[in-house]
């Protein structure tokens, strides 16, 4: 079973995503700061990470860099309000799997999860 770590500084968003992902029998862990994310990452060792960019303590790009340097095989999906091309390119260069722009459409996310996570698990 896949493990997903959800990182966003908005607590409610993280909680909703937590409940949402649990529907699909995915094991979910939450973090609401960059620092907390790295701690949780080392503890949980997830297969997938949903990662916000703008966070008050550590920038999402930094978190991405740290995660990729620790475990390059982990897939990271950026979920962010930053629309500009530079941020998207940067994320891809740093090894992000996907880049989803907020506001987040759960149905679209569901499709992505279906293809990339759920179908592969079965």
């Amino acid at each position: 079973m896949s493990k997903v770590l959800v990182i966003d500084d908005e607590v409610e968003v993280v909680d909703f995503l937590f409940n949402f992902l649990r529907r699909f029998k995915i094991q979910v862990e939450k973090a609401v700061s960059g620092k907390g994310a790295l701690e949780a990452f080392m503890k949980v060792k997830p297969d997938w990470v949903f990662l916000d960019i703008k966070m008050p303590d550590i920038d999402g790009f930094e978190v991405l860099k740290a995660i990729k340097s620790m475990s390059p095989e982990v897939n990271v999906i950026m979920i962010t309000g930053k629309e500009d091309k530079e941020s998207q390119d940067k994320a891809r260069k740093l090894g992000a799997f996907d880049y989803i722009i907020k506001p987040l459409d759960l149905e679209q996310l569901h499709k992505k999860i279906q293809v990339n996570i759920l179908d592969k698990n079965n």
Binding site: E12, V13, F16, K54, K102, P103
Partner: protein, 721 residues
């Protein structure tokens, strides 16, 4: 008196004098103290030589020669001890061996009859002759081995030194070579080479070189010393010698002519030449110095030229680079680095650096509290590395190879300092150099001050720009958009989750729902609400994107084009509606036959938006002050009219708002001026932006007509290309 006696007397005085000076001046236990003993010992030789050269009695001469010989033996021992200390090559065994040998030979001198032979020479005086193998052994061991070794140490040490110490050592070693060639010359005679022992005079010459060089010219290059001494030797003896020779030669001629007054002719010649000599000396000196110091004069001239050019540089970074470049290239040194005051961080920051390849950290700084900074603040003058207190030298870190530090400041304000490396030709920095650097540093300080002033005004300008940006649509949009997006995301995720929750529940409890139509109705309705939320999120997101896109275009677009004023007005009113949360802006348009104008579209949008915003707020301000019954009668109105004239377009925007009072008329375009009772935005930058965009960027004109409490009419005139 023969020459040997003269040289002995002269040398006795000079060596004793320098020994005395050193004993008085120098601290005990320092290497120089041993040099005082060395001088004293050599004085004993010359004193003895004075004694034995003035007697014709064999016995008296023998006693004096023995006294003199003590000097000969002790001098190299003390000298070796001194050099060991100076060069820090302290070998206790060798020093002790030297003293033991000295003691042995002193013993020999007095108790071993055949050690010294004396011989009457040149029909003038007795002189010691080395025929005994023991005395030859003495000569070879001390003067043949230890003395050259001491010189080897000295020269090795000299090569490791820099700057002023190197300069001083140079004199010192030259002095020593002169001094030691004295006894070596005497030995030649003592060993049987038939030349007159005239080198004795050299023993007494070295203190003169020291005294002259160290005391008076301790900073001056030896080339200056040599050229001045040579100029002196050429000019004075020649000019003053001529009258004497003249007098000597011409007496037989002059005496018959002038009788007892013949001396008047040579005397007047003396007077004439004595006035001429200093002139000649000055001429010769400057000629010789120019020849000797061509290189130095070249870069000094270059530096002074560059210094005057610095004032025209207004960019601090470029100035710093320029200074470093000039200094390194012109003076030809290892490296040059400039540190400048960074007031906000209370540090001196490395601004520019040039060297030959080696790397240093670019973010090197000196805190205000750093002892070097404190020291330079107090000194205010260029300081040589060797003049720095030892603890400061150690604190220089990566710049320990610095030879000279030149502070630059105005009054008590230390603006920065420059580190100079060593010259590539390893010449030390001279007094003349330092004088030039002082001028350079003063010029640099003025130029830096100038730059800082420019920088400050530039920063003030930037602050206004930043405020402008904040007040502009783009500025607001960027900041607010992110916040809005976060909230939208919350809505989106929550409503999405709500839909999934309903769907899941319906699937799990399908029977329950089938049985209960009311439940189904409620669930359907909830799902509908969630969908409506989602649709609204998408629409709002669209609006935000629209504003952001506009803001981005505005940032980048600076090109002139023909465009529709109507489009600009539409965008502006839409933004106004969002800003003031109103459904409609009370705007009446009269665009005439064509709404096409010429300019930078994004900037003109900003102009129109700001003017409409200003008009709307002026109206709101007026409404707030109206009595309730007046409010009912009042109908707000903004009019926009476009007029095409021969080569210009004029946009008129008028409102029936509060207008502007007489005393505020002149301030209306000033930045940060606002009369609005902090009604909505109130940054006070809007009309300033309008004026700048129109007048500076579009070369147009903005003016207005106003009656207080009745309204205002703005005119924007744009040239049509």
């Amino acid at each position: 008196m023969n020459f040997f006696t003269f040289s002995s007397i002269f040398s006795t005085f000079s060596t004793f004098a320098i020994a005395l000076l050193l004993f008085v001046k120098v601290k005990n236990k320092s290497p120089s103290y041993n040099f005082a003993y060395t001088s004293l010992a050599s004085g004993i030789w010359t004193l003895g030589a004075w004694g034995f050269s003035t007697t014709t009695s064999y016995d008296t001469a023998l006693i004096w020669i023995k006294v003199a010989h003590i000097g000969t033996i002790l001098t190299p021992a003390f000298f070796f001890h001194f050099v060991s200390g100076l060069t820090k090559k302290y070998n206790k065994f060798l020093i002790l061996l030297n003293y033991c040998l000295a003691a042995l030979f002193v013993f020999y001198t007095f108790f071993y009859k055949d050690f010294i032979h004396i011989k009457y020479v040149f029909g003038q005086f007795y002189f010691p002759i080395y025929v005994n193998p023991a005395s030859v052994l003495f000569y070879i061991s001390v003067y043949g081995i230890f003395l050259p070794y001491a010189f080897f140490l000295l020269i090795t040490f000299f090569r490791t030194t820099r700057g002023i110490l190197r300069n001083q050592l140079k004199y010192f070693i030259i002095g020593l070579i002169v001094a030691w060639s004295g006894p070596e010359g005497l030995f030649l005679f003592a060993l049987g080479v038939p030349i007159y022992p005239c080198s004795n005079i050299l023993i007494g010459v070295y203190p003169l070189i020291f005294a002259y060089a160290i005391l008076k010219y301790h900073l001056m290059d030896i080339r200056i010393f040599i050229s001045r001494a040579a100029a002196f030797l050429i000019s004075y003896p020649f000019f003053l010698g001529v009258p004497f020779i003249f007098a000597y030669r011409m007496e037989p001629v002059l005496f018959p002519l002038l009788g007892m007054n013949w001396w008047l002719v040579p005397t007047s010649l003396i007077v004439f030449f004595a006035t001429l000599a200093p002139l000649a000396y000055g001429q010769i000196r400057s000629k010789m110095e120019n020849a000797f110091l061509a290189e130095q004069k070249r870069y000094q001239k270059l530096l002074l030229q560059a210094a005057s050019g610095m004032a025209t540089e207004h960019d601090l970074n470029r100035l710093a680079k320029l200074i470093v470049y000039i200094v390194k290239k012109a003076v030809r040194i290892d490296f040059a680095a400039i540190f400048l005051d960074d007031k906000s961080n209370e540090i001196y920051r490395l601004k520019a650096y040039r060297d030959r390849g080696s790397k240093i950290s670019k973010d090197m700084v000196f805190l205000y509290e750093h002892p070097l900074v404190q020291y330079l603040k107090k000194q205010k003058e260029p300081v040589l590395y060797e003049e720095l207190p030892p603890e400061l030298r150690e604190s220089l870190g990566e710049f320990s190879k610095t030879s000279l530090i030149v502070p630059s400041g105005i009054e008590d304000n230390l603006l920065g300092f420059v580190f100079f490396g060593e010259k590539l030709n390893r010449q030390p920095y001279t007094n003349d150099d330092i004088d030039v650097f002082k001028i350079l540093s003063h010029q640099a300080a003025l130029a830096i001050e100038n730059c800082l002033f420019m920088e400050e005004s530039r920063q003030a300008q930037e602050k206004i720009f930043a405020a402008e940006k904040l007040a502009s649509i783009g500025g607001i949009a960027d900041g607010v958009a992110h916040q809005i997006k976060n909230r939208l995301n919350q809505f989106s995720v929550a409503s999405g989750e709500l839909r999934y929750e309903i769907k899941d529940f319906a699937q799990k409890h399908s029977e329950l729902i089938l049985k209960n139509p009311d439940l189904k109705k409620t669930f359907d309705y909830l799902a509908e609400i969630a969908t409506s939320f989602l649709n609204n999120v998408k629409r709002t997101d669209g609006i935000v994107k629209g504003i952001l896109n506009f803001a981005r275009v505005e940032e980048k677009e600076t090109f002139f084009s023909k465009f529709s004023l109507k489009e600009v007005i539409d965008v502006s009113t839409e933004l106004l509606q969002i800003k003031h949360e109103i459904s409609q802006v009370p705007l009446k348009l009269n665009l005439g036959s064509s709404d096409i104008i010429y300019g930078v579209k994004a900037q003109m949008t900003e102009v129109v938006y700001n003017m409409l915003d200003n008009a709307y707020e002026a109206i709101q301000d007026k409404v707030m002050r109206l009595e309730p019954e007046e409010k009912l009668k009042f109908s707000p109105e903004i009019k926009l009219r476009l007029l095409h004239e021969q080569s210009i377009d004029v946009i008129e925007i008028s409102d029936n708002g509060i207008g502007v009072s007489k005393e505020n008329e002149r301030k209306i375009f000033a930045p940060f001026f606002t009369t609005k009772s902090s009604y909505k935005s109130g940054t006070g930058i809007g009309m300033y932006v309008v004026k700048r965009m129109v007048e500076e960027n579009h070369k147009g004109k903005v003016w207005f007509e106003s009656t207080h409490m009745k309204g205002i009419k703005f005119f924007v005139e744009l040239p049509r290309k």
